[in-house]
């Protein structure tokens, strides 16, 4: 499980360095449109189910145009934080006022709001994952800096990201070593966890020291610079224009209900 988590981190990172239409769009544009998308999805009221469905067009387009493996994203969405499910599942239990009658079954309001939560969950989580899978992390940091997020924080993110892989590998070694020396649950308690973390911490601080010296040797004066420059192109403008229009359209008009009423007369 641990190994796969680490693998996922690296895999997402690798996906983000592909070269497709979606990957080439400016990170600022992708970040902004993702945020607008999420805000629109979340702004739907509690019982909305059908109105959310057209929004799946966006993740589908990102997946296909961005060449992202569907199963990978699906798996991540499914295993990720059960919190929404855990809280949402109370809705059908607590709210059983009837809402619709489907083929003899009565669907309660609680199930509607639960379905709404789960749809929103799928949409927002996949958007976050697809954003990172189609935009490299440094790209997102660049976008954040352009969006006036404080430099100290952006620099911290870049630094953190650079060292996650190094330290995750170290943590992986520690976990393997512990697994080999422990039996079942024995040896995996807090008593042995604390010194493990302590040692990892000390190694980390030593590493920071070495990194600092290396930075000084390369004429570090307290500022971090980024090299890659981005420029907004026509395609970027078109992309954000079209996405905002579609998001507004989907948000204001319930296409699903419309289509449903046309087809069923």
């Amino acid at each position: 499980m641990f190994d796969t988590e680490f693998f996922n981190l690296g895999y997402l990172d690798r996906l983000s360095y592909q070269d497709t239409f979606i990957h080439r769009i400016d990170p600022r544009i992708k970040l902004l449109s993702s945020l607008i998308f999420i805000a629109a999805v979340v702004s739907f009221p509690k019982y909305e189910v059908t109105g959310l469905l057209p929004f799946f067009l966006f993740p589908v387009i990102f997946l296909t145009l961005g060449d992202i493996p569907l199963m990978f994203i699906l798996k991540k969405v499914l295993i990720v934080s059960p919190f929404a499910l855990f809280i949402g599942i109370f809705n059908p239990l607590l709210d059983n006022r009837p809402a619709h009658d489907l083929l003899g079954f009565t669907v309660s309001l609680g199930w509607l709001s639960f379905a709404s939560i789960m749809l929103k969950f799928a949409l927002t989580i996949s958007t976050a994952l697809l954003l990172i899978a189609t935009t490299s992390f440094p790209g997102i940091c660049f976008a954040m800096q352009k969006l006036r997020i404080p430099k100290a924080f952006v620099g911290q993110l870049l630094f953190l990201y650079r060292y996650i892989f190094v330290l995750a590998e170290e943590a992986m070694k520690i976990v393997r070593a512990r697994d080999m020396r422990s039996f079942g649950r024995r040896g995996k308690g807090i008593k042995h966890f604390v010194p493990l973390i302590g040692v990892l911490f000390m190694r980390t601080v030593d590493r920071a020291e070495r990194v600092y010296h290396a930075m000084l040797a390369r004429s570090f004066r307290g500022k971090l610079y980024s090299t890659k420059a981005y420029a907004l192109t026509m395609a970027d403008m078109l992309f954000i224009f079209v996405s905002i229009c579609l998001i507004l359209l989907f948000r204001v008009i319930n296409l699903t209900a419309l289509i449903g009423s046309w087809t069923t007369g």
Binding site: S116, I132, A171, G189
Partner: protein, 351 residues
């Protein structure tokens, strides 16, 4: 526990985003004023450390389940509140992107819940007054334990508040509170013990690390507690003020902002073209007009209240059917678009 996008309303999400961003800006300013440049690599690498440490699970005594470190308190003790908050926020940002923990809108809430409380409540108000340079390990343990419990209780309480104000969950306030607080009491105790253990371990093994980080960090000696408290109070009042509109049940975020822009809760309707026609069709047929359910005619305009939901309209089989059919068609269309894009992309590059 990470808050999730799906449980949030945009208004609550945005409010906490504003709070989190404001705190980030404040901390960045503080760090800029008085930071040893040595702190930059130290903060970065310690962020990665928290990440790595969270990947190492341990079994929780008495329950048999496994838990992992939160890390906010350890960071606050080692780096001081400002740097610790920035590090914590960066860790949560990476988590929300790569592990989709919570989501992007909920990131503001998560930074607030897991960053502000350990760094600006528990550390300056509890840990710092209790622990001196020469304090005994026992004293450190007690201080860390109380801090861990308090910050996690506050964090859990915030999750409840955020969920309640968003109004997506049916859970009654008290039930939710009773669900969350005891769980997080346990988590807080564990977190407190781990924090204390790690700090004591470092203090006995390599005391100079703590000393050197303490000298490098800004404002190690005196945190302007009053300023922090006043700042928090202002944010709290602002948040409370903002939230209270939304607590008043009706206009959801988008409607509210549209109302503000156009002076009425709907987008201004176009006079001609396809919009009115579509609108008319929708009004006649949609079973979810006004983004909600059809209101009982009698209560046409009065302010929406609880009563509206109670006077629930009769079940209409016909419109339900159209909803299902529409859903199937929309899903089918989305899938079709996906498949055709895939198919089209496969063709041009034979390899």
């Amino acid at each position: 526990m990470h808050m999730a996008d799906a449980l949030l309303s945009p208004a609550v999400g945005a409010t906490f985003w504003a709070g989190a961003l404001g705190t980030i800006a404040y901390c960045s300013k503080k760090l800029k004023e008085s930071m040893d440049e040595k702190m930059i690599p130290l903060m970065g690498v310690l962020g990665a450390f928290i990440f790595a440490a969270q990947m190492i699970n341990f079994t929780i005594p008495a329950t048999g389940s496994s838990g992992h470190l939160g890390g906010g308190m350890i960071l606050a003790v080692i780096l001081g509140p400002y740097a610790a908050f920035i590090v914590m926020a960066s860790v949560l940002t990476v988590q929300s992107l790569f592990f989709a923990d919570g989501g992007l809108l909920a990131l503001g809430c998560n930074i607030w819940n897991l960053g502000v409380y350990p760094c600006f409540i528990a550390y300056p108000l509890i840990y710092k007054p209790l622990v001196r340079a020469g304090s005994s390990p026992k004293r450190i343990t007690i201080a860390a334990l109380i801090s861990g419990i308090v910050s996690l209780q506050l964090g859990a309480f915030s999750v409840v508040i955020e969920t309640m104000f968003s109004g997506r969950s049916e859970l009654p306030f008290s039930t939710f509170l009773l669900l969350m607080q005891p769980i997080h009491l346990g988590i807080g105790i564990v977190e407190g013990f781990v924090t204390a253990g790690v700090i004591n371990f470092i203090r006995s093994a390599r005391p100079e690390i703590l000393e050197s980080t303490a000298s490098a960090r800004p404002l190690a000696a005196d945190i302007p507690l009053r300023k922090v408290l006043i700042g928090l109070l202002i944010v709290a009042v602002l948040t409370g003020g903002t939230l209270s509109w939304f607590a008043s049940a009706n206009p959801d975020g988008l409607e509210w902002s549209i109302e503000k822009t156009f002076g009425k809760p709907e987008l201004p309707e176009q006079e001609h073209g396809i919009m009115p026609a579509l609108k008319k069709i929708q009004e006649n047929t949609a079973f979810l007009p006004d983004y909600g359910f059809r209101k009982p005619e009698a209560k046409g305009e009065g302010p929406e209240t609880e009563k509206k939901e109670e006077a629930w309209p009769k079940v209409e089989a016909g419109t339900s059917l159209s909803g299902v059919v529409g859903s199937l068609i929309v899903i089918g269309m989305v899938l079709l678009i996906g498949f055709s894009i895939r198919a089209m992309r496969k063709r041009p590059n034979p390899q």
